[in-house]
Symmetry: C2
Subunit: 235 residues, 2 copies
């Protein structure tokens, strides 16, 4: 007889929140739930933890099974545990999130489960507490965006200032003044102007920029400006 | 027959990481585990999730039962799920953490379970993956400290610059140059100098300061300086 015997056991699930950026808008990937309750309603990609899996492994498996996506870096967001969050049986769910370049994963996306991109701000009603999960993930994204001057994992190799502005506007769900935005971004001195222009989206065209990766790495610390080089101190 | 039937169920635990500041050092609260395996080894305060409890509720209950502490604001850190993390039976554990003013909670601390404060940098070996939990919580603290110029929830109403420096030195596990530290902190213009001096810790004494809470709130944004007022935009 140990302290372990007689303890209650629980169902554990994972839910994946996948934000995507297509160069203009932030979108959210959703599927139609394939089983009861709430069958056919829009849902995050979720499934149960199996024996022998870590949560990270389960999140990657579920995402692959339901959408075809693989190799996405999923970050653990938070574990949701309100006793009545699932009406059938109590389930504790750990949510994972990622923000990806939609074009880069386009070909992987399977349509077997009707995974669909929705404009983040025009998303349908979600089942259970998935709305709460999405809101917390958005908040997390906003903090990340404030700390990382350029969300460069997300941008194509070369991009325009209007594209970058769209990305930030999508994340903060607001409209920035074009001139101010451009001035602020260029003042970071992290962008290298290219010769070439994108003429697809305006007559005048917009110059392409590339990120100065060396500088970006060196200057990241500038944003954590109270303590000298905190990352150096992180073990 | 639903998708839910036949799914594996798991033990779920919570573990509490309590950092404390006594004005000079950052400490870690530990207990001696009361049951096998690893009986009498040093451990975070942990226990199993019960039916009907949310994880937050369980974390508060466990902390109260094992240390006497109540009313501590516990923040969810991360859920740990490596299949072999507990040698007796697979257990998924959600870790919570807090940083408290040791003096403020002194009277609540019960000695029934031998809860003891250890210097963070001289802590004993911990059971299971508790060392990994503590390291992740430290990393989280460092990010918080970099974003919040003063960890004011933690300081007494009036405090000296050397006390503040000790706090930051404890969190970053490093030694700052006294003069530089003082200059940087005062340049934030968030501190109001008091008439009174603390003479207990040096002959010359050190002036007490109070936090300018109004300014602190208004200036917090300055540290998230790329996006104008991100918090305003957080829904």
């Amino acid at each position: 007889m140990t302290k372990y015997s007689g303890q209650k056991h629980f169902l554990i699930a994972v839910d994946c929140i996948i934000f995507g950026f297509d160069g203009y808008d932030i979108k959210l990937l959703l599927i139609q739930r394939g089983f009861e309750p709430e069958k056919n309603k829009w849902s995050l990609m979720g499934g149960f933890l199996q024996s022998g899996e870590s949560l990270e492994y389960a999140a990657n498996r579920v995402l692959k099974q339901l959408t075809g996506l693989e190799g996405v870096y999923l970050e653990q967001l938070q574990t949701f545990s309100k006793p009545l969050r699932d009406p059938v049986e109590r389930t504790i769910s750990t949510a994972y999130f990622a923000l990806i370049d939609i074009h880069q994963y386009e070909k992987q996306l399977s349509h077997d489960y009707h995974a669909e991109w929705f404009l983040l701000k025009k998303r349908p009603l979600l089942i259970f507490d998935h709305e709460e999960m999405v809101k917390l993930a958005q908040k997390q994204l906003r903090y990340k965006a404030a700390l990382h001057p350029i969300l460069f994992e997300l941008l194509p190799d070369k991009f325009t200032i209007p594209q970058l502005q769209s990305l930030y506007q999508g994340i903060y769900n607001t409209k920035f003044d074009n001139r101010n935005f451009s001035r602020k971004v260029l003042s970071t001195e992290l962008l290298i102007k290219q010769q070439e222009k994108d003429k697809a989206n305006s007559k005048k065209g917009a110059f392409y920029y590339k990120l100065d990766k060396r500088r970006y790495k060196a200057n990241f610390q500038a944003f954590l400006n109270f303590i000298p080089n905190p990352d150096k101190l992180l073990r």
